[in-house]
């Protein structure tokens, strides 16, 4: 059985570079999508921050371990999963809020379009009625 101090020392390794590389690749994919205007920078900022935090945790396990210990986690993995779940929940809620806003806006625009289209059709019909031979002097 290792002491707590020894446990945290074990996490002083070279860092999980593979995981950091995965975070970097995902961040690069995000940047590429932003450059191609498939997603907006504003909407992606939280993802980039999240990836940065995860990448930092992977590269500096010692610092991560000390933070986890200070927060009362007994294992590093628990801290990692809790952080990831909390961050994903926040990201999902943000996405849900944005999606709902866009959905409501799209309903309002659809209604507005229908009302304006009807008004236009009536105006055009009234205009063509006025131009008909019976109305010409």
């Amino acid at each position: 059985m290792q002491s707590t101090e020894a446990y945290w020392r074990l996490s002083d390794g070279p860092g999980n570079w593979v995981f950091a590389a995965v975070c970097l690749v995902i961040a690069l994919v995000l940047m590429r999508l932003i450059l191609r205007e498939r997603i907006t920078l504003q909407g992606s900022m939280s993802y980039l921050v999240f990836l940065g935090v995860l990448g930092g945790m992977a590269v500096f396990p010692d610092v991560t371990g000390r933070i986890a210990h200070a927060l009362g986690f007994s294992t590093l993995a628990n801290f990692f999963f809790c952080t990831a779940i909390a961050a994903l929940t926040i990201l999902h809620l943000r996405a849900l809020v944005t999606l709902s806003r866009v959905h409501l806006r799209s309903i309002a625009l659809t209604q507005e379009l229908a009302i304006l289209q009807e008004r236009l059709d009536r105006a055009l019909a009234a205009g063509s009625a006025l131009e008909s031979p019976e109305h010409r002097v």
């Binding site: 309903i107 659809t110 209604q111 229908a114 009302i115 289209q117 009807e118 009536r122």
Partner: protein
């Protein structure tokens, strides 16, 4: 007095023509200027064409919004064009236009309610009643509405209803999108609108299919129950916010 008949319709080519003919054949009520608008909710059949051929006004939604979104488009039109009343008649032909005078009579009465709901469950011994399961669901919603909003209404899912000016103002701004009838009653109550109901005779749908059947009815009951509570609380909160803003100004 100007009255707009709003007919939300989604793939209702079979029933719509007959319904519009019935509206056309209504006896002229002195002092009532009646207009009809069909809200085509993204239909893929000839609904829009049928409406045009019958000379009704037509709002064509470019995608399907559901009954709530379609109704709100009609209510916005009525509010913007300053109609005194608007009445909802479903495009499936369940609501006989001949019963419209009952709603109007109550709305023009001395108490002048803001929202009149046509009920099929009161004083209606010979008329069409829905299935037992639906009546059970309706009874549950009555209970929820009474418990949450203290509104006693016997047919909360009825879409045959008449909106006065205050109701038009409220619902043109905010109207529930999915299964809107019970939720809109909670909103009306929370906004201090006067709600009345009047017995009417309804009939079976003249065409098309109901959107609520099978497992969807379980989802419907759950969703509507939550929605009624939230709509009541949200509308009350908004009303308090508006009052505070008015006091500051």
């Amino acid at each position: 007095m100007r009255l707009l008949v709003i007919i939300p319709a989604f793939n209702e080519q079979e029933a719509l023509g007959g319904l519009l003919d019935e509206l056309e054949a209504l006896p002229g009520d002195t002092g009532v200027e009646l207009e009809t608008v069909v809200v085509d909710d993204g239909s893929v059949d000839r609904t829009a064409e049928v409406a045009r051929v019958h000379g009704a006004r037509l709002l064509r939604l470019c995608r399907n919004l559901g009954i709530g979104g379609a109704m709100q488009a009609g209510l916005q039109l009525a509010h913007r064009e300053r109609f005194d009343f608007a009445v909802q008649i479903d495009g499936d032909g369940q609501h006989p236009p001949g019963e419209l005078h009952r709603l109007l009579a109550v709305a023009r009465g001395s108490t002048g309610p803001d929202l009149v709901v046509g009920t099929r469950y009161r004083d209606n011994p010979g008329g069409f009643r829905s299935t037992r399961l639906r009546r059970l669901g309706s009874a549950w919603l009555c209970f929820v509405l009474r418990a949450v909003t203290r509104l006693a209404i016997s047919d909360p899912t009825s879409g045959f209803r008449l909106y006065g000016a205050r109701a038009l103002r409220l619902f043109a701004d905010t109207y529930p999108y999915d299964f809107p009838e019970p939720e809109s009653l909670a909103m009306a109550r929370a906004s201090g609108l006067r709600v009345a109901e009047v017995p009417v005779t309804m009939r079976e749908r003249q065409g098309g299919r109901s959107s609520i059947s099978g497992y969807k009815s379980i989802y419907y009951m759950f969703k509507v129950t939550v929605a009624v509570v939230l709509a009541y609380l949200r509308t009350r909160r908004r009303g308090r916010g508006d009052k505070e803003r008015d006091a500051v100004n």
